[in-house]
Structure formats: C-alpha cells, structure tokens
C-alpha cells in the first residue's frame, strides 16, 4: 500500500521527499502549506489542507500542481494509505 506523508513545517518537506516513493502521497498542513506556494513548491504532486491554505491567504499563491483538499478528503487519504508518517 502507498504511504501518506504529513508535513506540518515547510522546512521538513526535503527530508520527507527523500523518504517518499513516487507512488506515495504528501499532504501539507499547518505551516507545511507554505511549501505549496508557487515560488517554493518542489516539482512533484502535493496535497495541501484547505483550512490552513485559506487562513494564511495562500489560495491564489499556490503552485499549479498542488491539490487543495478539505478535511473529508484528508480522511479519505488516510483510508487509502498505510502507514501515515508525520514530518516536522
């Protein structure tokens, strides 16, 4: 099964990506969503948590390849992946 990586600080994304396979999913949340900004986002598929994106005023500033997901979709990502790994 593919792995779900949760990243709650932008600075932790590098370490996460070094340990993630192409088929694994990465969800940016909390301060991790800053890594989804166009100027900063690495070139691989990323998810970003909607309440965190919106609160920080980042909705219009994200890279094109970032998928914004709500809490219900966060739950579906957890259903579909194992294990769930947190990076900070």
């Amino acid at each position: 099964m593919a792995v779900l990586h949760l990243v709650n600080r932008a600075a932790a994304l590098d370490a996460c990506l070094a340990a993630a396979r192409d088929e694994d999913a990465v969800l940016l949340l909390e301060d991790g969503v800053y890594a989804a900004v166009a100027a900063l986002a690495p070139a691989r598929p990323l998810h970003a948590l909607e309440p965190d994106v919106r609160a920080r005023g980042l909705s219009a500033r994200l890279a094109d390849h970032v998928t914004v997901v709500d809490d219900a979709a966060f739950v579906r990502l957890v259903e579909q992946h194992q294990p769930v790994v947190s990076w900070r």
Binding site: L6, N8, L29, E30, D31, L49, P51, D52, D70, D71, A72, F74, V75, R76, V78, E79, Q82, P83, V84, S86, W87, R88
Partner: protein, 130 residues
C-alpha cells in the same frame, strides 16, 4: 475503519490539537470509529480544565469533550508526559500532595502502554505532530 490518533502539541503553541479535532470530526462523519485519542508530549495540555480561551475563539477542549461524549471516544492523557508538565488528576494530586488538580473529567490519565494498545488494535494510526 478504526482510527487511533495521537496529539503531540499544546493549544496555542501548536495547531496539533485543533487539526486533530477537525480530522476526528470528519472521520466520524465518514463512518469511522475512534476508540482512543492519545495526548502525548505537550499534547497533554489539552486536558487542563483551567484554560480560558480568548473571546470569540472556540475552546479547543470543549470540542474534544463534546466529541468524546457523543461518540464514546477515550481521551487518554499520558501520565509520564502530564505529571512533569503540571497536568494532574485527583489521584496524582493526592499521591504527590499537590495543592490542586486540573485534569478535565472527560480525560483519563493512562500509561504509555495504552498508546501501543491503540496502535495495535486500530487500522490506521495518525500522529498530529507538535
């Protein structure tokens, strides 16, 4: 599915508890069960009954208490982490001769074994890091 959650951060110094609470609501709404939420490290501060949130801000604790009552979730506070941080129930107050206790009655103080038990008996384990 059965989910086990761990909360590692304190309200106001981390979003950990707030994110976990929203996730828990969404998971329950999707039909999943959450037998236990384990509060570890600074996460134990969520159990403190003496916090007064700023006006116009929701109480993070009230959210947990309501969810636990509605869905039979155990709110488990790790004793190894809570005792040193001054989050104590009546039993510890008595044992250590402390002037008061401050754990909200909806929370239960438990040992670290309960974290492992929750992980072993669930389909998914999600840590909400500090």
């Amino acid at each position: 599915m059965k989910f086990a959650l761990a909360v590692h951060g304190a309200p106001y110094s981390s979003q950990s508890a707030a994110t976990a609470l929203r996730f828990a609501r969404a998971a329950l709404a999707a039909g999943h069960t959450i037998p236990r939420v384990f509060f570890y490290h600074d996460g134990v501060h969520s159990a403190c009954a003496l916090a007064v949130p700023p006006q116009d801000e929701p109480s993070p604790q009230a959210g947990w208490v309501a969810l636990a009552e509605q869905h039979g979730i155990e709110l488990a506070v790790c004793i190894a982490a809570s005792l040193k941080r001054g989050v104590v129930d009546a039993g510890e107050q008595h044992r250590y001769d402390l002037p008061a206790s401050n754990v909200h009655p909806a929370f239960t103080v438990v040992g670290l074994g309960q974290l492992l038990e929750a992980i072993m008996s669930s389909d998914r384990f999600v840590t909400f890091a500090a």
